[in-house]
Symmetry: none
Subunit: 344 residues, 2 copies
């Protein structure tokens, strides 16, 4: 191991040297390290440059141990491979940067065992609080039942109206309604919903919005199909299964609960020479790369993922810092993006 360590001593610049070089008081440097929001941007810039030039190591451990906490919070993501969660992470990082905090991440793959494990791990690693993206209401109940030790915990991409936690979510029922109304407005009438399982709160909510939009138009769903999961391969199987009914004129529109599902469906239909949007309209959900970068760009419902990460982080920071914090449930609005797959 010793060979791995550089021979040079780290420079021994102290906080005094930083203050002298930046032309500010030691108290201002201390503020720059601990309460960045209290220091004007140009001053912060001078101090940060001085720190860089001197190779000063702000003694993070000393600061955090004084407070018992590192200057960070944890963010547990359901699916690193889904760009929605990357957007959420970017929004959280932006909120953290504004307060001189860092974000540490974990990937749960939507599995309860991992959600549980990372909530616990983040408590041990002395972060100031945890943002947890959740899909499944049963996981929510299990986790809040077990982790009752007062670690500030904000639910992201999940709504709960009990008032026991802050939650920030995107209104999925409104999104399902938007998608379905768009298909109706482009003249489709024989519409199928594809998405499952309903234990995923976003899927159940989107399905509810779908039903409500059809009911407003005095129509019934032609069918509702719940694949095992919401990925491209699942959509491909659904597309295979539905192809004959599309060819027979039984179906002229599909609302898919994710863009990956929609992309898989379009791919399977195209293998049966069924043309989208001529033969039917298909709309997805998420506005991820699978939708905009497809051979037939897919209409979708865009989720403000970065804003979700940002406001969720603000809720958490407020909970950590404000003695009078009250739990809030913020719900953001999705928006429609019309592309080739639903043109008429």
């Amino acid at each position: 191991m010793s060979d791995a360590l550089p021979r040079e001593e780290p420079t021994s610049a102290g906080i005094k040297d930083v203050a002298a070089l930046a032309g500010v008081s030691i108290a201002t440097v201390s503020n720059a390290l601990n309460h960045r929001e209290r220091v004007a941007a140009p001053t912060l810039g001078r101090i940060d440059r001085a720190i860089g030039m001197l190779g000063y190591i702000p003694n993070g451990a000393a600061r955090s141990l004084a407070a018992g906490r590192t200057r960070s919070f944890g963010l547990i993501l359901s699916d690193l491979g889904n760009s929605l969660f990357v957007d959420i992470a970017r929004g959280a990082e932006r909120a953290a940067d504004e307060r001189g905090l860092s974000v540490v991440l974990a990937n749960s793959d939507g599995k309860l065992e991992r959600e549980d494990r990372y909530v616990e791990l983040f408590a041990e690693t002395r972060v100031r609080g945890v943002l947890l993206t959740l899909n499944d209401a049963s996981h929510f109940r299990a986790i809040v039942g077990r982790h009752a030790h007062g670690q500030p915990l904000v639910m992201l991409n999940f709504h709960d109206d009990s008032g026991r936690y802050c939650t920030a979510s995107i209104d999925n029922e409104a999104g399902g309604h938007l998608a379905t109304t768009h298909l109706l407005e482009t003249g489709r009438r024989r519409i199928v919903f594809v998405g499952g399982p309903d234990t995923l709160q976003p899927v159940a909510d989107r399905r509810r919005g779908f039903r409500r939009a059809l009911a407003s138009a005095a129509l019934d769903p032609v069918d509702e199909i719940a694949p095992t999961w919401v990925n491209r391969a699942d959509g491909w199987q659904v597309g295979q299964a539905l192809a004959d009914r599309v060819l027979g004129g039984d179906i002229d529109g599909i609302v898919a609960a994710s863009d990956l599902l929609a992309a898989g469906i379009v791919q399977a239909l195209s293998e049966r020479s069924i043309r989208v949007p001529e033969a039917l309209g298909v709309i997805g959900y998420d506005n991820n790369q699978a939708a905009w970068d497809a051979p037939i760009p897919i209409s979708t419902v865009s989720q403000p993922g970065e804003e979700l990460g940002f406001v969720g982080s603000q809720l958490l920071i407020d909970e950590v810092e404000e003695p009078d914090h009250e739990h809030r449930a913020i719900r953001l609005a999705p928006s429609l993006i019309a592309r080739r797959s639903t043109e008429r």
Copy 2:
């Protein structure tokens, strides 16, 4: 705030325990922490290994405090939005799962300030070690100069032959050679390399492989273009700039240093009605979604990202657990995926 702290006491290894385990005096441990040049290398090695095994934090402020380690290691990723890094995370999680460990992640965006900050933060949060994905050799030098406190640190996606750190990387020179040879084998002779900046080690290595392949065929590069960065928009600008030369017959092949660059180039050429692969062959690098899900699927060099995360994590676990650990540099081989964009 104390409510948020876990109930269990962390283990409380102190300097005495380190001295006892290393078989040296407390004064020698103190020297190892504060005046490394006064301690012989083999002794330093024993002390550092003892520190690692006991989870002792060799940090002035923390020294007097209980210092246990959590069953986790940190992984700092250069770009959460690039599927290569998601694959690396999955491989690391698989290696961790096998040993009952967890992985906490951070996103550096390839910025030195953030790489630095997260290496430091992970030390404070008592992980057992850190995997750092790096692109830039100057960042490597800066980071190893500053973080000299014995935290096990493995470089990922970066090679360094000094033997001072374990590194796991993918052979980018071999990949650049593969891509260029494929264009040559499909009959292209007037080939341009697009990728930059050369401060990114993978880009510089791919360029070297490109030159070597052309030299083997007794050809010169038609041009080498270094866009500001390696994203789709950068490629789109390059495609715009090269369109006239393609139309004039000056260029019949492009080796791009990333799939996003290649996708942007193909998109810009298509806007000028230049057909790929008929007018020229284009090959990218990374095998990410931008390549396989494009209107014209793009040939590429596939990187074994999950394997990289897996073997890198094994190196780190070995360094943490094995007293006789010796630093190793593992280099994995990329592979060619031929698609429509280079057909002949």
